[in-house]
């Protein structure tokens, strides 16, 4: 099986070496020490993940992260500045994570593995939860072998929540992800969720999307 590639952007040579050694157990790694090199490599070669230190000698790490936004790679940021990282994470909406320095190697590895797993799930083209299956290429929803017709919004909501099982989505986040504008109120999300529930219930999938009081919606993973 082809090994995933990880780009390590870290100007501290000793730390970069250790990161490459640890991540090298599971992935092919490339180490660069500057933001410019990182952007050049990321544009010309495919990477599954960029491990990005936000404190770089030649340019602002945030800028690098912003320029990587259109890139296919997920981003895990290393920084002492939590406020900056959450800004970028908002930008990526789900495809970026961060870890504060100093950290224990286990913590970093756990984060990288988690990102890789969710990436693999998204790329397999199939999202599953109980008897419910989404085929992301055909944008089709199937419950126990029977196809369920969903509108574009309904499908998008279900895909987002099945990709991120276990995560709680607030109505504001869902408005942002489904409509991308502030013109739509939370009522629109309530209506979409309600229709999705009715259709899935009618197809026999049971309760998939749960309401968390005052916080938003949740799709539980199968094992929880």
């Amino acid at each position: 099986m082809r090994r995933e590639r990880v780009l390590i952007v870290e100007d501290d040579a000793r730390l970069a070496e250790v990161l490459a050694r640890e991540l090298g157990r599971g992935y092919d790694t490339v180490v660069v020490g500057t933001g410019r090199d990182a952007l050049v490599r990321a544009e010309t070669e495919p990477f599954a993940l960029v491990l990005l230190d936000l404190n770089l000698p030649d340019m602002d790490g945030i800028e690098v992260a912003e320029q990587l936004e259109g890139n296919d790679a997920d981003v895990v940021m290393l920084t002492a500045r939590g406020d900056l990282a959450s800004r970028v994470r908002g930008l990526y909406a789900g495809a970026a994570d961060y870890l504060a320095k100093p950290f224990q190697m286990e913590e970093l590895l756990a984060r990288v593995y988690a990102r890789m797993r969710s990436r693999a799930r998204a790329q397999s083209g199939i999202l599953r939860r109980g008897g419910l299956t989404l085929s992301t290429e055909e944008r089709a929803c199937v419950v126990e072998g029977v196809r369920v017709d969903l509108s574009a919004q309904e499908y998008h909501l279900l895909e987002l929540m099945l990709e991120n099982q276990g995560r709680v989505f607030s109505k504001d986040t869902l408005v942002d992800r489904l409509y991308g504008t502030a013109d739509v109120g939370p009522n629109a999300i309530e209506a979409v969720v309600s229709r999705v529930r009715k259709k899935l219930d009618a197809a026999g999938a049971g309760t998939v999307v749960e309401t968390i009081r005052g916080l938003g919606y949740l799709v539980r993973p199968d094992d929880a």
């Binding site: 404190n55 002492a80 500045r81 504060a100 100093p102 950290f103 309401t211 009081r213 949740l218 539980r220």
Partner: protein, 435 residues
């Protein structure tokens, strides 16, 4: 005494002084003029009677006998009344007018010598009515003054309250300033003094903000400098420790490195203001977190038989559990002295961390979550962070004395079940914004 009452009282006292002085003066003038007038009228009558007696005019009466309260007597040298109008009983001799009661009414009496025989003319005026008028005037002046005093006190208080209202407003706004992130106090009114006060307060707040910002920047600088070396030291020592677990010195160094890492993580959470960062909510099993933390501190006894799902931020809940366990290990001096128990309930889950250390006295129990409170070798911020995070998750944290004399920390977090809407059919979260 409040400034408002002081000003009100000051105005009232001033009003009292003015009212008392002016009414007193008016009353005094009136009394003096009235007394002079009464005296003049009496002496005029005496002179007129004397003139009439000396040169009687035919048909002219000394007095109209029906005039009430007016009496004239001609008294001989032997003291006998020779002639009397208006009153039979002899009037007293009074070369200077005197006031005395006659038949229960006050009279002014004056006398003058009549001829050389030693006789006298004595005249009495009833001044009761005039004197009553004087008393009436005194009463109305007094009640008017009292009314004026009350009214000015009231007005004084109202005016003082009005004038001080901006001050109270500024006090309210100053109270509302968040000590963690002090903003500015707004004042748009026209009071120069209040504006000066507001400006002074805002200057102080700005200085505090600037200092906080610099401290944060400094800590972040340190964090950046220490981040990579601490990560590396910890990484290498942990790797060596796995290779040579029997090497006591190495194990001790690895433990210390890990401790250093965790402590700086706590400090950085505060330095970054990360407690203000919104929670990233997901389904989290507390049992996983507890077991992972227990794994980080081999020797800690862990009793977590059931899954305990909650809605929370996994990283931050992990930090809470880790801080409590670390705190216990420090207090007990060894991981074996710490017991972690997770009890899953219907509405809430309880996490108890007990240690067999020296325990906490009453004072320590009340202050243990305060920033900077130190217990043993701890950094003094871990428990503060833990409390903030637990409360952000809608939970509670408490410290108590454990059964074995050590300390016991208990965290209660609302269970997943308690947060899931029972009737999921309508798709409407019950958070009060269904409008």
């Amino acid at each position: 005494m409040s400034l408002r009452n002081q000003v009100g009282l000051g105005v009232a006292l001033l009003a009292l002084l003015v009212v008392a002085a002016s009414t007193g003066l008016a009353y005094g003038w009136f009394v003096r003029d009235q007394a002079a007038e009464l005296r003049r009228l009496l002496l005029e009558d005496v002179a007129r009677v004397a003139a009439l007696l000396d040169a009687p005019v035919l048909g002219a009466a000394f007095v109209d006998p029906s005039t009430p309260g007016f009496a004239v007597q001609v008294v001989g040298a032997d003291g006998r009344v020779v002639l009397a109008w208006g009153r039979e009983e002899p009037l007293p001799l009074a070369p200077d007018p005197v006031q005395l009661p006659l038949d229960g009414r006050r009279h002014l009496v004056a006398s003058a010598p009549w001829r050389d025989a030693g006789g006298t003319i004595r005249v009495a005026h009833d001044v009761e009515a005039a004197l009553r008028t004087r008393a009436d005037l005194a009463r109305s002046l007094a009640s008017g003054g009292a009314l004026a005093f009350l009214a000015s006190t009231f007005v004084g208080l109202v005016v003082a309250r009005r004038a001080l209202r901006p001050l109270e407003l500024v006090v309210e706004r100053a109270r509302a300033v968040d000590p963690q992130a002090p903003g500015t106090i707004a004042y748009a009114g026209s009071s120069r003094e209040v504006r000066a006060l507001t400006d002074a307060l805002n200057a102080t707040l700005a200085a505090i903000r600037e200092r906080t910002r610099r401290e944060r920047a400094f800590l972040l600088e340190i964090a950046h400098e220490l981040g990579a070396p601490l990560t590396l030291v910890n990484y290498h020592l942990a790797a060596l420790r796995r290779e040579r677990p029997a090497d006591a010195e190495l194990v001790s160094a690895a433990d210390a490195a890990q401790e250093l890492l965790r402590t700086s993580q706590d400090l950085l959470v505060l330095a970054r203001g990360e407690l203000e960062r919104p929670l990233e909510l997901a389904l989290v099993d507390l049992r996983d977190l507890v077991q992972r933390v227990a794994g980080e501190y081999p020797g800690v006894r862990c009793d977590a038989p059931e899954p305990a799902p909650v809605i929370g931020d996994a990283d931050r809940l992990m930090q809470v559990v880790r801080n409590l366990v670390r705190n216990g290990v420090q207090a007990a001096g060894r991981p074996e002295g710490v017991r972690v128990a997770l009890e899953a309930g219907a509405d809430e889950h309880r996490l108890r961390v007990e240690d067999d250390g020296p325990g906490l006295d009453a004072e320590a129990l009340s202050r243990v979550f305060e920033r900077g409170f130190r217990r043993g070798q701890g950094s003094g911020v871990g428990l503060t962070i833990s409390r903030d995070l637990v409360e952000k998750h809608g939970g509670r944290i408490a410290a108590a004395s454990g059964p074995g004399g050590g300390a016991r920390f208990e965290v209660r977090l609302p269970s997943l079940a308690s947060r899931v809407e029972d009737d999921a059919g309508d798709g409407l979260p019950d958070d009060g914004d269904r409008s």
